[in-house]
Each structure stands twice: as C-alpha cells, then as structure tokens.
Symmetry: C2
Subunit: 227 residues, 2 copies
Amino acid sequence: MGEPRRRIPEATVARLPLYYRALLDTAEREIATVSSERLAELAGVNAAKVRKDLSYLGSYGTRGVGYDVEYLLHEISRELGLTRDWPVAIVGVGNLGRALANYRGFGARGFRVVALIDADPDVVGTTVGELVVEPLAELDRIVAEREIVIGILATPATVAQDVTDQLVDAGVTSILNFAPALVTVPEGVSLRKVDLAIELQILSFYQLRRAFSGPGGLAPERRKSVL
Amino acid sequence: MGEPRRRIPEATVARLPLYYRALLDTAEREIATVSSERLAELAGVNAAKVRKDLSYLGSYGTRGVGYDVEYLLHEISRELGLTRDWPVAIVGVGNLGRALANYRGFGARGFRVVALIDADPDVVGTTVGELVVEPLAELDRIVAEREIVIGILATPATVAQDVTDQLVDAGVTSILNFAPALVTVPEGVSLRKVDLAIELQILSFYQLRRAFSGPGGLAPERRKSVL
DNA sequence: CCGACTTTGAGAATCTGGTCACAAGCGACC
DNA sequence: GGTCGCTTGTGACCAGATTCTCAAAGTCGG
C-alpha cells in the first residue's frame, strides 16, 4: 500500500529530526501550538525553511494560528518511522562501541540496541549494560532472529568494509558508519557516516582562516548568532 | 599577511579530509602519483568533483600524469591546518567523553586532547588515559594556559548551551557539539554538530520508504554501488 | 457578520553545488 | 621534433536547496 507520497528532499529529511526534537521540548512544556517562527528558533533554522519543509509532509498548519504541537509531532514521527521499533546491532565493541551501547537517547525513540558483536575472543562474552557481547561468526543468525535492519559500525578502519559486507549479507539494510574508512554498500542499502576526525579537520580549516584574516573573517560553517 | 586565497566552497572543504585520508593511504603504499579518477575511487566521489575541488586549492596536477601524492598531501594538510598543533579540550566526561578521550585518530594529526573537564565532583580527579579530569570552574585558566581553541562538547543536553557559553567566554573559537541539543554561538565562532540520534532517524526514514515501496524503492541518502 | 490581524503555503527568483564536455598541456615514443 | 594518448582544469550547463514575497485562509474582538 504505497500511498502516493510526494518526494521529500534529502535536505528536508535531515532537518525533520531537528523539528521533532524541538516539538518534543515544546510538548513537554504543555504548549499546544507553535508558529513556524518559533519552531525555527528552536530548531536553529529560519521560518521560511520550516514552512517549506513541513509543507512537503502535507498542510498540517492552520493559517493565523500555527501548527498543533501534538499533531505535528505525530505526523513527523510517523514520517520518520519512529512509531516503529527498530532493533539495532552494534558491531565493534571497543571504546566507541561501548560508549554507544551505553548511550541513552537511542532507546528513547524506537532504536533498541539488541546485539553487541565483536570479533575479538577476549571481548566476546563480556557484558556491557544488559547485553553480552556475541561473536561475529553468529552474525547471520542474530540478525535474522532479532530482525535487525540497522547496523552501527564501530570497528577499526581496516575491517570496516569486510564487516559491512557481512552485515549486508546478513540482511541489514541501513548502516551507520563510525569507522574512519570509506565503505561501499550495494544499491538498496542506506549508509551514513559519522567521522570525528573529519569534523575536527573541518573546524581546523575555518579556525585557520580566521587566524589569517583576523576576527570577523570569512564565513565559517554553520555560523549562528546569539539570540 | 592575508594571502589573497580564493574562497573555497563549504562542500569542498568538507571533502578535503576525504582526499587527505585517501592520499595518506596512497603514500603509505609508496605510490608517487594519482589520477583524479583513482583518487575519486578512494574517496568515494566522482572524478570531476575531485578535479574541481583540487582546482580551488591551485593547479597542483600535471596533465597527462595526475597529482604528485606527497606534494598534494602537503598542500591539503596546509590548507586544513594539519601542520599545526591544535590543543583540544573535552568537556563532559561521561561515556561518550571518555570514549572520545581514548579515541586514537585525534592525536594522530595535530589534534591533541590536553584537558578533560567535568562539573561533577565525583568525576573530577579521576584519570582517563594520561589525563586527570579537571573541574569546570577552572575552565578559563586551563583554556588560557594551554592555548586551547577547539572544544569538544560531550555534556548532557540540558547544560550544553551553558557550557558552550563558558567555552566561548574562555576563548574557544571552534566547538564540536555531541550533545543532542541546539547550541548557538556568537559570530566568529565555528560550530559543528554530531548527533547520533539524528543520524539514526534519517536512516529510519529511508528504511521505512524502502519497506513501503519494495526493494529498489526511492533513493536513499548517499547510496553507493559496490565496485 | 465584518474587518483587522496573524500566519501558512507555495510560486518565483536566487544561490550553491554538481555534472558534462572539451580544449590545453604534458609525457612518451618513434 | 612531431605526433599520439592521457589527464587536468575550467567554462557552460543543470539540479537541488534556500530565500523572498505575497495571496489565501484562518482567528478574534466587537
């Protein structure tokens, strides 16, 4: 049953979680409606963008009033698939993997870490939180049994591609890659990357520019003014 | 002495670290030159983009031959400021902060973590790696004495803005925010954001779309084909 | 029920980035 | 030294995203 949904631009999809969070905060304060202006402020974007983004989801606002917080929250979470339960596996239980496993904020909204997997026999069998680390060899069975579709890759760079291939073979169709390495996946599998070193290097670039051109130099990435 | 550098597009800056890493790998294998084609493959982009990006830095290639690996490596690292030493402070020593502190790959290229800072008296005084966690109250002194310009924010969301303000007041001009919260900084300060929950939500969106429209559905983010 | 006021939704214009295509430049080989 | 093949660098074009603007649609007070 493919509702004939309009195509939502990538850039918009990337901002929906921002609105979602802003709306959660607003709902918590028991505020019933928000204007695009206010929502923009909370999400750190501008009002026109908020309106355009939300208009891709449908006409959920009321002119002269704004958006109903609860309703919009519901629509966005449906669109983002947060009404479902997404079992997640973390592969690679080093420093980062462990930190991610303990991270609250996943569990909060549908993302449940249901497996920790590592190749190192010394790590397998250890407990992190409520989970026991399982061996990579069991990956296929684990993914199938627990219906895992999202994998978080926190291995060293050297084995990143190899582990990715195994994840894909096992049936995982969304991968979040924390390993500092290029990883490719077949068509039909989503891949996103988070790279600490790259982020720092980008900051370094703009830092350097500022140092050269003096205060108030060239535009850095995502500059924001204080309110 | 502001060399009249051409303006480099944001998107290009964000890719320079990719090229940098690819070139490092190439240099390690003692390969002297790379074509844009090969570099593109290693960085996961297309060749035209590589050439255009590199052309913003200057004409460092040789037609008919390609780019000299060592030379290009040098130019990119200079452009990114990786020839300098950037002392970094991590504020917030919870799970994530600790993992980041232990993360190799920062230290590697100019980014040295020289301070771990937390507000919790129970955490202050503990040791992580070779560093002792210091109190938030000392921030000003620490930043000044160690000439810290980059701050990594790994606090809970609730105090993110407050800690950011303190970092900025202390003189930090680049901030990498891991806290799941909107943070604003004054003009002249760079801010980048890494948000685990948001990345998962974006994956969830495309996952859902695929589930609806069957395999081979709508275009997911950053899809890549296997080679 | 009307008029003033607010705020959305969306078309048009603009900006930024990505892709294409090819002339220019360089090395190699004869 | 001339010719051939390869690869860069860039101008022209195209696509996607952002911003601007304003008519349309609603609320609210009287």
